[in-house]
Amino acid sequence: MELTGQHLGMTLSISALDHDNAAYFGYCAKGELRLQRCRPCGLIRAPPGPACPWCAASDFEWVSLNGRGKVYSYTEVRHAVQPAFLPYLPYVALLVELDEQRAQPSDHEALRLIGNLALADGTLASPDVVRQVGIGSRVRVVFARVGEGLAIPLWTLDESASQPDSVWRYPELSTPP
């Protein structure tokens, strides 16, 4: 069955043929961050897809993750290209590195997901919160319901984690030599 939803006025549509994304976002609607774990090699992959990036096997199971991690990189968008985001400037696209499977199967690999910085209720973060977040910030997943049986994952500052003393942010006041 096709899944549809509305997010910030944008239409989301998941084809009935797209089993991987339908399952992923369907679990989000139940408040669960789940990813596919390859049965033969045991590695979890993100984003969802039909085969294991490491061993090419197609046999997998959906496993729950704790939804916690840290900001690996980000961009703070000040010029919205999509009209839906105009009311939310500046907004942040985070690259979140999950705690699970970090540095596996090699040093440079990890489960890293793109998603917006949000408040705990799933609304996009306000400018004062945007200014607090940088590379190294601890975040946790939150879900925004966008339709019947459909939600999307977003990320908020993890209140239960100890945040680093300082995080790396783009050096706004940098001046030419």
Binding site: H79, V81, A93
Partner: protein
């Protein structure tokens, strides 16, 4: 399991067996008032004439597009070309150099003798980056993980790579801004460039922020234009109008271990050039130190820096120092994008930088220097504003095409001894 190292077999391949013999383009404008079909015909006609050929002597066409242009078969009809071979490839940046290799392959396979490669786009007046109504289409498939989060333009996609480079290596915005400074200097000596005003690093940093770390002047210009190049065998090239720009080596859309999972596989500050470089330099029989002029895809200031770094012009992590050192400016040791590139001349998905390097190899850059009685410009090598942009000594050039951080192409050309 895939490893980060790979073995580059062979070496010579078709080194020296093919050449670029003609180059041409339309004007660079924001508002062409023409279809991509008309633009393509204009540029292809110019490239064929530049080679000293007649349209009837072209029997192959290659083009690339993303649903925003006109097929080679249609353009052929407009020019009186009867193709024995044509193909329209899906793609933007990184297509140019890959198609040069495919053109060589098509000729080598006996499918045709002379191939014109073109890219025609109304990048401003028709299909803009992320705009022109496409934002309204339902978000579906793998875009669910991107557009849903306001992450849907090349600048937004690449930004986490650029930011992480700053974080890991201490790369500073004012260093990377020097790419724009250099290219604006070059464009000031290119009468056909869209942005001919020289800028400073302070100008770049003072321009409005689009998405960190990209200011407006860190980004290229959406442009209407078409560009074309003609590829044929070295034997045929020797009988044509110009000294051939000999193809020494080419790599096409070389990928990182997982081109679809750049951010998961990392290191995200390393781009496809790292994997393309061994094959490129071995195939061409030269190294970075032999290159006189580079053309490094400057969709953004950062893309130029990352490619120069990962093709081996400086150590990993030192790209900021390298692009700020003056080396990449006219008058420096190895100028990059002497036309002004995508940042200043106009955005054309890579062909324009090959066009420029062909002219540099001919020692015939189309600047404002006077044309002598032999029809060639008398270059002064005075690089002050409005002056010359011909590099004094150009024997070897290299072009680096960027598709995404995860895949890229490259082309090394030289003069015949």
């Amino acid at each position: 399991m895939q490893t980060s190292e790979h073995i580059v077999e062979g070496g010579r391949h078709l080194r020296g067996r093919y050449a670029i013999v003609g180059v041409g383009e339309t004007t660079y404008t924001r508002g062409s008032g023409k279809t991509t079909r008309a633009l393509a015909g204009w540029a292809v006609r110019n490239a064929i004439a530049d080679a000293g050929l007649r349209p009837s002597e072209i029997d192959g066409l290659l083009s690339y597009q993303m649903g925003d242009s006109t097929s080679g078969a249609t353009v052929a009809g407009d020019l009186g070309i009867r193709p024995d071979f044509f193909m329209d490839v899906w793609g933007g940046g990184s297509s140019t150099e890959a198609l040069v290799g495919l053109a060589m392959g098509a000729i080598e396979a006996g499918m045709c003798r002379t191939v014109v490669i073109f890219r025609a786009m109304n990048g401003y007046s028709q299909t803009r980056i992320g705009g022109t109504g496409r934002s309204d289409a339902p978000i579906t498939g793998d875009e669910l993980h991107e557009r849903t989060y306001g992450w849907r333009t090349p600048g937004q996609w690449f930004a986490p790579t650029f930011m992480r480079h700053m974080y890991e290596f201490g790369t500073r915005p004012e260093q990377v801004a020097m790419v724009r400074v250099a290219h604006s200097k070059h464009a000031s000596n290119n009468p056909k460039a869209l942005h001919r005003k020289r800028v400073t690093a302070a100008d770049v940093l003072a321009s409005r922020m689009i998405c960190t770390p990209l200011h407006l002047l860190d980004c290229c210009i959406e442009t209407d234009n078409a560009t074309a190049i003609v590829v044929t065998s070295i034997e045929r090239a020797r009988h044509l109008r110009h000294a051939p720009a000999v193809i020494l080596g080419v790599v096409g859309r070389t990928c990182k271990p997982r081109p679809d999972m750049h951010f998961q596989h990392g290191p995200i500050t390393t781009v496809a050039a790292r994997w393309a470089a061994p094959r490129l330099w071995k195939g061409a029989g030269v190294g970075p130190e032999d290159v006189d002029v580079t053309g490094s895809y400057d969709a953004f200031t950062f893309t130029t820096m990352l490619q120069l770094e990962d093709y081996g012009f400086c150590a990993k992590g030192e790209g900021g120092d390298y692009v700020a050192s003056g080396i990449i400016e006219l008058g420096g040791q190895r100028p990059n994008n002497t036309s002004g590139g995508h940042l200043c001349e106009g955005y054309t998905h890579g062909v324009s930088m090959v066009v420029e390097n062909v002219r540099q190899l001919r020692h015939d850059a189309d600047d404002s220097c006077q044309v002598g009685p032999d029809g060639r410009r008398q270059h002064t090598h005075d690089y002050r504003e409005g002056g010359c942009r011909q590099v004094r000594k150009v024997d070897i050039t290299a072009n680096f095409g960027w598709g995404t951080p995860a895949y890229g192409s490259a082309l090394v050309m030289g003069r015949e001894a």
